[in-house]
């Protein structure tokens, strides 16, 4: 179904992620792991539970929808990937809302820049693919080509959540 260039692209993507992981592990060796205070740890546990329930509800609802209507709205990988993204977003947004996303050592400003870069890169790649006549919908089904747009939406929601949180924090600081 997919050509060799697609497989090479996936391979290169995984390789780049692996290289970043190795560089990160080497540069942070010897430093303490992310540290959260007791309130943050409890908030993160609640967020993980919410993600579990979000994924459960999505999986069951999607399975029921496809079975009852016989409308396959996305290929199997995209259905699973969107569920994964949804669960991740639920956990991340809840952590951001409860001030439990960044540890006591982390600098949100740096992450904001990285997230913005990931959003722009995925949006750009997605648009480039559409302009190159690679369909994101084929036969009424969302194809794997829409993956970049899904990732872009995920990071856009994260950026919006961080921005709203920052505005709210500014208002309450040392109130």
């Amino acid at each position: 179904m997919y050509n060799g260039a697609y497989a090479i692209g996936v391979g290169v993507g995984l390789l780049v992620a692996l290289i970043f992981k190795v560089i990160y592990a080497r540069t942070t060796r010897g430093r303490k792991a992310a540290q959260y205070d007791e309130r943050q740890e409890k908030a993160r546990m609640r967020a993980y539970a919410s993600a579990f329930w979000a994924l459960s509800v999505y999986t069951l609802a999607n399975g029921l929808f496809v079975r009852l209507t016989e409308i396959v709205w996305a290929d199997a990988f995209m259905q699973a990937f969107i569920g994964f993204c949804l669960a991740g977003l639920v956990a991340i947004v809840q952590c951001i809302r409860d001030d439990a996303y960044f540890s006591l050592r982390e600098r949100p400003g740096l992450y904001l820049k990285v997230f913005a870069l990931v959003f722009v890169a995925n949006l750009g790649i997605g648009i480039a693919a559409v302009l190159a006549s690679e369909p994101i919908v084929a036969g009424g089904m969302l194809t794997v080509r829409s993956l970049n747009f899904v990732v872009a939406v995920v990071f856009l929601v994260i950026l919006l959540a961080l921005w709203i949180k920052r505005l709210r924090d500014r208002g309450e600081r040392d109130a």
Binding site: D37, R39, D99, L104, E172, R173, D174
Partner: protein
């Protein structure tokens, strides 16, 4: 229920929420949540806050 005694003790030492948070080793939002009554801290954190402010548990947390 708001913890006004904690807020008053912090203000008496002219400490910001961030400064108190740094002394105790928690986030500013955690101190804010305790003062607003949104978070009920463990006894360990209560003791750390008391030490940082030079107060007793009775002074800050006992009803």
């Amino acid at each position: 229920m708001k913890n006004l005694r904690l807020k008053a003790a912090r203000a008496a030492l002219d400490l910001s929420q961030q400064q108190l948070a740094d002394r105790v080793g928690v986030s500013r939002q955690t101190i804010n949540a305790i003062e607003k009554g949104d978070y009920n801290p463990t006894i360990r954190l209560c003791l750390a806050i008391c030490r940082a402010l030079g107060k007793t548990l009775d002074d800050l947390f006992w009803e």
